[in-house]
Symmetry: C2
Subunit: 347 residues, 2 copies
C-alpha cells in the first residue's frame, strides 16, 4: 500500500510546511517544498498524490490545508500511547526530546528493570517497573514502543511488547528482531550507522586519504609520565635537563603539573590541559595550533631539531613556552623525571 519511505517524507513535508506557515506563507510550489525538504519536485508531487492532496496550478499548494491533510494522514484521530523501554542515558535523552516535541499527540510511559528507577518521573514521564510492563501496556492500549535497552535484551522486551498489543517498535539496540510480519520495526542503530559513515567517508576521496592521514598521525608512541602532583617551574627544569629555550612563556614563569609525551594529535585532546608540558618530536605548525587551542603552556621538541620560523613565530604570539631538548623522547622524559625526583627530595 503506502511505503515506509513515503510516510517518512510526508512527515518531513509537514514539518517544512509548519515552518512556512509560521513565517506567514500561504502557498508553496512543489519545487520550493522540494528544496526545503531536500528532495526532487517530482517526488513531492507524487507523494502528495498518495495522500489525495491537490494543489492548484499557478498558485501551488495551500500550506494550512496541507498541514491539516498530512496530520490527518499521519496521526489519525486518537491520542497515542508510547512506551519507552530502558531508561539509561539514551532513553532519558530521547524522552527529553520526544516528550517535548510530541506531548500534544501522545503520552509517554517508561519502563526499566532497575528498581531504583521505577517510581521516578523523568521529563514529565512516569518510570515504572518492567515487571508489570506487559500488563500495563495492554491496559493502556499502547501500540508504539521505543526500545533503548542494552544489547541482548531487545528480543525478549520486544516479544513482551508484541504480546501486549504493540504494533510499532523503534529500537536503538543493534539486535535484529524476529517478530511477526505485521509489526512495524525501525532500527536506529547508531553504531551501525557510524560504520556506514566511516565507509563512505573513506570511499568519497578514493582512498587517497590514507597516505595523507599517515602524515597527520605519524608515530604511534605514547609515553605517559606518572602524575607528579607537585608543580614544577619550566624555566628551572629546562636548565636542569640541558634544553634550549626558544621562546619564553608568561613573564612570571610557567608552571606545569603533568607531562605528556606523544605525537598523536588526537590523543593530545584527551591528555593536554592548561598545566601540561607537551613533549613531542613532531615540530609542526598543526601541533602548535592544537596545543594553543588546548591552552597548553609549554612544548618541548626533541632531538635538537630547530623548529621552522613560522612555528617559533606562532609560539611567541601565543605565549607558549617552547624549548628544544638535545636528546630523544625517551631520554628527555627520563631527564624530566629525574628532575622531578630531585625537586621532591628537596621539598
Amino acid at each position: 500500500m503506502v511505503s515506509r519511505k513515503t510516510v517518512s517524507r510526508i512527515s518531513r513535508y509537514r514539518r517544512v510546511l509548519t515552518a512556512l506557515r509560521d513565517d506567514g506563507i500561504e502557498y508553496v510550489y512543489s519545487h520550493e517544498l522540494a528544496r526545503h525538504a531536500a528532495v526532487t519536485a517530482a517526488q513531492v508531487r507524487r507523494d502528495l498524490m498518495v495522500i489525495g492532496y491537490s494543489g492548484s496550478p499557478n498558485k501551488g499548494y495551500d500550506v494550512s490545508a496541507g498541514i491539516t491533510s498530512m496530520s490527518r494522514f499521519l496521526d489519525g484521530p486518537r491520542r497515542h500511547g508510547i512506551a519507552l523501554v530502558g531508561v539509561g542515558n539514551l532513553g532519558r535523552a530521547i524522552l527529553a526530546h520526544a516528550v517535548r516535541a510530541d506531548s500534544a499527540a501522545a503520552f509517554f510511559v517508561a519502563f526499566d528493570s532497575d528498581p531504583a528507577i521505577a517510581g521516578t518521573t523523568i521529563n514529565g514521564c512516569r518510570c515504572l517497573d518492567a515487571t508489570h510492563m506487559e500488563e500495563l501496556v495492554r491496559s493502556l492500549g499502547i501500540e508504539i514502543a521505543i526500545l533503548t535497552v542494552p544489547e541482548g535484551a531487545a528480543q525478549s522486551a520486544a516479544d513482551a511488547l508484541v504480546r501486549a498489543g504493540v504494533k510499532s517498535i523503534i529500537t536503538f539496540a543493534p539486535d535484529p528482531l524476529h517478530l511477526p510480519d505485521d509489526i512495524f520495526v525501525e532500527y536506529l542503530d547508531i553504531s551501525a550507522t557510524l560504520e556506514s559513515a566511516v565507509f563512505f567517508a573513506r570511499i568519497g576521496d578514493g582512498g587517497r586519504a590514507d597516505a595523507e592521514a599517515a602524515a597527520v598521525e605519524p608515530i604511534i608512541r605514547m609515553l605517559e609520565t606518572p602524575l607528579t602532583r607537585s608543580q614544577m617551574r619550566l624555566e628551572d627544569m629546562a636548565r636542569d635537563i640541558g634544553a634550549r629555550v626558544v621562546t619564553p612563556g608568561k613573564p612570571n614563569g610557567t608552571e606545569i603539573s603533568r607531562v605528556y609525551a606523544g605525537d598523536r594529535v588526537s590523543d593530545l585532546l584527551n591528555e593536554a590541559s592548561d598545566s601540561t608540558l607537551l613533549v613531542s618530536n613532531l615540530a609542526s605548525l598543526q601541533m602548535l595550533r592544537v596545543a594553543e587551542l588546548m591552552d597548553v603552556p609549554g612544548i618541548c621538541f626533541v632531538n635538537g631539531i630547530d623548529p621552522e620560523p613560522d612555528v617559533v613565530e606562532l609560539a611567541r604570539e601565543n605565549g607558549t613556552f617552547l624549548l628544544v631538548s638535545p636528546v630523544g623522547v625517551f631520554e628527555t622524559c627520563g631527564l624530566i623525571y629525574q628532575h622531578l625526583s630531585r625537586a621532591k627530595e628537596c621539598a
Copy 2:
C-alpha cells in the same frame, strides 16, 4: 557502486560474526547468518559477493576470515576521528554509547557552543568550544561528524564541518541538510521515525483501533484538586460526604494527601501515587489494575454505580479502599474539598 543498504547490512553481519566467534564457532552457512541478521540467505550471499569474500560449499563461510575481510572493507586501514557537535542530553548519551563501542577504531572529540561545557571531559571524550571547531577538525583530519544540535542549528554546523573536510555526517536534527553531493548524510530523526511508527501502528489493524480506543479513554475530563498538604483519613471523609464504603483498605486506616479526578487511564500514570485518592466514573477492571500497579490506596466511584463483582473482588484482594459516592464527579470533588476545608479549620 556499492549501496548504502549493503554497507549497513555488512556492518550487521560483522557484528553477528563477532558474536559467533566469541561462541567458538568457526564456520557458518549463509542461511544461519541470515537468520541471525534477520535477512534472507540469498541476500547474505549477494552481499558477501560484493566485498569479494568467498565461502566454501559444504563448510560455509570462515567466521574469522569474514570478520577480517569485512573490517578491511568497512574500516579501512586508518583510525578515524569523529566529531560530535552539540553536547546536550542526546549528545552525551550517544557519546557514552559510541565511545564504548568504537573507541578502538576511532577517537572522539565533542564541540559545544556553551562555554560552560568547553574544557570538560565527558565519557572520556574531550569537549571543546565550538568557536575553534572548523580549525580543529581540519587539523585533526576528522572526516566524520555526528550532529546533535538543536533544530535550526544543523545547517550552519554542517557547512562548517564540510569546509573543514568532513565527508560523512550523521544528524539527529530534523533539518534537511543542503550539502554537496559527495557528502554522505544519514538522518536519524527520532521525531520523524516516531511519526512513521504512529502511522503504521494505526494502519496495521485496518483502522479498527479507533472505536476500540475510544472505549479505553472515554471522557476527557480532568478535575485536579489543589494540593492539600494535610493528610486525610479516608474513613472519616467517606462518612462526611455520604459515600458508601465497598471494601475496606488497610486495617489501620487509609491516609491520602492528594485527590485526582479523571477517567483517562494514561493521565493516571502521571498523577497517581501511593497517597492519592482516585475519583473516577469509570468502574472498570482495567482502571483498578492500573491503580493497583501505581499503589493507589483508595478509589472513589461516583453516581452511585455499583461496581461489578470482579472489580470488588480485585479491590478486596489488593487492599484498596473502595467507596461509591452517590453524586457525580463534580459534586463529589466539591464535597471532598469542603471536608478538607473543615478539617483544616479544626487543626
